[in-house]
């Protein structure tokens, strides 16, 4: 079959003719984009086989940085699921590297020995991290930042080690450093030049960025040259040419990338810095095409997705039988994906004497903008702190537009003059149809508007699915939303995304939690400031949530804000309908003593408490206590050894038990003792919603363990752990999580499970709806399949507990905490 097949190529294939075979080497962003474009142009034309060295389906490599920073999960960045390959009849051979090409026989052979024949071959092998030529680079613990395996290695290192050194202060290095810092490592960035990201930023912007990142805890050594990586059996330090040595448990090499052309080279294809291709993306062999970072085109190589996607389009056209599409090279722009840092750079900003420089600085807002003009045309732009006009400048740069008419106000951005600068929708409405909205995928406004109108799209997700706009790095999502809003007008219902926390903010619970972690926010005002709250000090709905998130994120460091606590948690008693309070002392595992009962009886008499009731949680509730009597009631209960039962808390409530093997003729284990141990470990903890446990001594389950947040059921050979039950408004029986043998394991699983719930559930989300949302499988992978993670979660739980196991009653009864709560300001008359 010939290369230049004539004909429509579309649906016109005769079904009896054998289909042409296309083999794709490289299951990455450029390769699969080409396949997608090809499927759109000529569905069914090829019998397609894709080889990928990584064991995963195609994912959004760009998003590895957010995965490292904990802002996204791997599942969220998968671009093509295995089901997609199946639906499109594509054979995916993942986890198998192609080793050789036999151009004469037209076959490729992989490491596994598998040989597949092709009529057309597409090489999309990406690139490799550049390995600096110094001793020690091959030590364990030295890695690049290129694929999921690297991210996993970094996350693992952040659990076992403390010091990370990132060599290279460019885009990739900084994203790695930021991510490692968020994961708790002390990070030093070693950079050869005097300012970081010098290829994209001028020294002013580079310095501002460095300050910002230093503020987050990163250390920079600029003008620093690596001499050696030292360590015995494993990396231990990095030595600089000037003799300094920086301790390192992990070294990330991020000094650049090199096109991965080994396969092409060994097959005798013409190569320079990459595999050489012509404007049709065809290599020196007419049946072999190449796209992506592995190619060299007109002497250029690329390391960003926008040009690769343009290449993909051309290659797909060629494979579909077209003869016209041609690639002419790309101008690129850059954004840094570090949450909270706004940075944009494009073009050339090394001003020479024929260039004009327009600079704008607003130190208090942290804004810096610089536009470099030559012959009244934008030649380069650097924006820091305020990047909303990045796309506009970039468009003018690519179009070579004469900016004379707007020259005077150019630096203030597109919205300037109309008094509409603050309204992004107006700015988007003013854009021409040819204006580019999504830089990565080269989608212009007109294409989006057309898709919205013709296909009746109503959400960003739909626009993304149909046009690819905002499908890669995601920074243009707000622009796409504006295009939707402008196009649909009143018909645009907004995004059906997770709801904002409350009317004080547009942010969702998850966004806020991620920001607290990623930006290191440590107080409620800080969160409100950085996340642009719309009210001065929030409301009764967001403040308790923020207080909890901060408490959970920074144990020991964040000081609980009692003004943001619901009254019950503020005064450690439950308010009743008549304004009095109820008092519930803890009864560990539901066990009490004559002394405790006597003390309770005495308190009831002494303070004339109107009602005493046994609760559904196996303890005793004293109803109708006057607020001003609370400290004295507590003091008396404390004196008999009793502490708060936290019957009011979004935290551990009770651990119900049955009598178990101590007395019961069916009991298999000491369920009462187990329950007491669990309650001793977990009391005082704060969780997103209340948390209840129970332990039953046999499967008859008299403690009703299977409707608890965590229930333990003893069996002959050990303990079954069940999770996600609820006996409240919607009854939900637990899911079985795991069976273990020892009490220690029960404690470890419980701590890990509570910590996972605490770290990831939304405020006021009980474990039952949480598990329904994230899935039991997810919980399993985090704490059953991954013992290291379980141990780490358990350790974090215990660490937090060291700050929260003080009896709040004692602190108030005798410690004088919040004294003002329990007395009147004045008595008048």
């Amino acid at each position: 079959m010939s290369t230049q097949q004539i004909g429509m190529g579309n649906h016109g294939m005769n079904s009896t003719a054998p289909r042409e075979r296309l083999v794709v080497v490289g299951n990455g962003m450029a390769g699969i984009r080409t396949v997608e474009d090809l499927l759109a142009k000529a569905p069914g034309r090829y019998d397609i086989t894709v080889f990928g060295a990584e064991p995963h389906p195609n994912y959004n490599r760009i998003m590895l940085s957010p995965v490292l920073a904990g802002e996204k999960t791997f599942d969220q960045i998968v671009l093509n699921t295995r089901a997609w390959y199946e639906e499109n009849g594509i054979r995916l051979i993942s986890g198998d590297r192609v080793e050789s090409i036999d151009r004469a026989a037209r076959t490729v052979t992989a490491v596994s020995g598998l040989t597949v024949g092709y009529d057309k071959l597409l090489l999309a092998t990406g690139s490799n991290p550049f390995i600096i030529p110094v001793p020690g680079v091959d030590l364990p613990g030295v890695i690049g930042f290129r694929d999921l395996a690297d991210v996993e290695a970094m996350l693992a290192a952040s659990k076992s080690g403390r010091h990370a050194v990132v060599i290279g202060g460019g885009l990739l290095g900084l994203e790695a450093a930021n991510g490692l810092n968020i994961n708790g490592m002390t990070v030093t960035v070693i950079h050869l030049m005097d300012t970081i990201m010098e290829r994209q930023l001028d020294s002013s912007a580079g310095t501002m960025l460095q300050r910002e990142l230093e503020g987050r805890g990163l250390t920079f050594l600029t003008g620093a040259n690596t001499a050696e990586i030292v360590g015995e059996g494993r990396v231990q330090a990095v030595r600089l040419k000037d003799g300094r040595e920086i301790p390192a448990d992990l070294v990330v090499l991020a000094v650049g990338i090199r096109p991965n052309m080994a396969l092409g080279q060994s097959a005798g294809l013409e190569c320079g810095r990459g595999i050489k291709v012509d404007d049709a993306m065809v290599t020196s062999d007419p049946d072999i095409l190449a796209v992506g970072e592995c190619v060299e085109h007109r002497g250029m190589t690329y390391g960003l997705v926008a040009p690769l996607f343009e290449m993909a389009k051309v290659a797909a056209d060629r494979l579909a039988g077209g003869a016209e599409a041609a690639y002419a090279g790309s101008v690129t722009s850059t954004k840094l994906k570090v949450t909270g840092v706004d940075l944009f750079s494009a073009g050339d900003f090394t001003a020479d004497k024929d260039c004009e420089d327009i600079v704008f600085r607003d130190a208090s807002r942290g804004v810096y903008k610089r536009i470099v003009l030559k012959d009244n045309r934008v030649r380069g732009a650097v924006l820091y702190g305020d990047t909303k006009d990045g796309a506009w400048y970039f468009q003018m740069l690519k179009d070579g537009e004469d900016v004379t008419p707007v020259r005077d106000t150019l630096i203030f951005g597109q919205g300037f003059g109309g008094g509409e600068a603050a309204n992004p929708k107006a700015a988007v409405a003013a854009l021409a149809d040819s204006a580019e909205i999504c830089g990565c995928n080269g989608v212009c406004k007109g294409a989006i508007v057309k898709a919205i109108k013709e296909k009746g799209l109503t959400s960003v997700d739909e626009v993304r699915a149909h046009t690819k706009a905002s499908a890669s790095c995601g920074t243009c999502t707000p622009m796409v939303e504006s295009v939707l809003a402008v196009t649909l007008g009143a018909a645009y219902a907004g995004e059906a995304k997770a709801k904002p926390m409350c009317k004080c903010t547009d942010r969702t619970h998850d966004e806020v939690r991620q920001a607290i972690k990623a930006l290191g926010l440590k107080s409620i005002p800080d969160v409100m400031q950085r996340m642009e709250w719309k009210t001065a000090d929030g409301c009764h709905s967001c403040r308790p949530a923020l207080n909890f998130y901060l408490l959970a994120e920074w144990p020991g460091e964040y000081k609980d804000d009692y003004r943001s606590r619901y009254i019950n948690e503020r005064v450690h008693a439950n308010i009743q309908k008549d304004g009095t309070y109820s008092v519930v002392p803890r009864m560990w595992g539901g066990v009490t003593t004559a002394n405790e009962l006597r003390a309770i009886a005495d308190v009831v008499d002494k303070f004339a408490i109107p009602q005493v009731k046994v609760t559904g949680g196996q303890r005793i509730d004293l109803f109708g206590v006057k607020k001003e009597d609370l400290p004295a009631v507590w003091a008396d209960l404390n004196a008999a050894g009793m502490v708060s039962g936290h019957a009011y808390a979004k935290g551990l409530r009770t651990v119900k038990t049955c009598v178990g093997s101590e007395w019961c003729r069916f009991g298999t284990q000491d369920s009462t003792g187990m329950g007491i141990k669990l309650e001793r470990m977990t009391w005082g903890s704060w969780t997103p919603h209340k948390f209840k446990m129970a332990v039953s001594g046999c499967p008859r389950n008299c403690a009703e363990a299977t409707i608890k947040d965590l229930g333990v059921v003893a069996v002959d050979s050990g303990w079954e752990i069940h999770v996600g039950g609820n006996g409240g408004i919607h009854v939900r029986a637990t899911d079985f999580l795991v069976k273990v043998e020892t009490e220690e394991e029960v404690l470890e699983y419980t701590g890990a499970y509570m910590q996972l719930y605490r770290e990831e559930a939304r405020y006021l989300e009980r474990t039952a709806p949480w598990i329904e949302r994230v899935g039991l499988d997810y919980v399993r992978t985090r704490i059953v399949d991954d013992p290291e993670n379980r141990k780490a979660l358990h350790a974090r739980f215990l660490f937090s507990q060291t700050f929260s196991q003080d009896d709040p009653w004692a602190e108030r009864a005798s410690g004088g905490v919040d004294r003002h709560e329990f007395s009147a300001l004045a008595q008048v008359g």
Binding site: Y566, H820, L825
Partner: protein
């Protein structure tokens, strides 16, 4: 405001926690005295217009308080419930001088809207 108003000193601004409240007991019932994040001071009858919940126990945000019993939101300056709820609780005139808080208690009767209450 009525210049002849009789003012009763009840304490110092400092005695009231910021974004919090203290209770002043009177023969005609409790008054909740609030201090906002911006240090403004307001006083309301300590009874929610809904079912009488003690507003002094609520969370203070902006110039509002949320009742601890069923989350009605009450304007501190007027005692009015925020939409969609409807109702009003009595508000008491407050004077702050050199950090000393005084209330204008003349005519304060529980359930009798005063001050900004438009339909009490």
């Amino acid at each position: 405001m009525d210049q002849s108003m009789k003012w009763t000193v009840v304490g110092q601004v400092e005695d009231i926690p910021r974004q919090g409240s203290r209770v002043v007991r009177t023969e005609s019932g409790n008054i909740a005295v609030f201090r906002t994040a911006a240090d403004e001071v307001f006083a309301l009858e300590d009874r929610c217009p809904h079912l009488g919940g003690p507003l002094s126990q609520g969370i203070v945000h902006g110039k509002r308080v949320t009742c601890p019993l069923h989350n009605w939101v009450i304007e501190l300056s007027s005692g009015e419930a925020a939409a969609p709820d409807e109702g009003c609780t009595g508000s008491i005139p407050v004077r702050v001088e050199n950090g000393t808080v005084s209330l204008g208690l003349a005519g304060f009767r529980p359930g009798l809207g005063r001050g900004g209450c438009s339909h009490g």
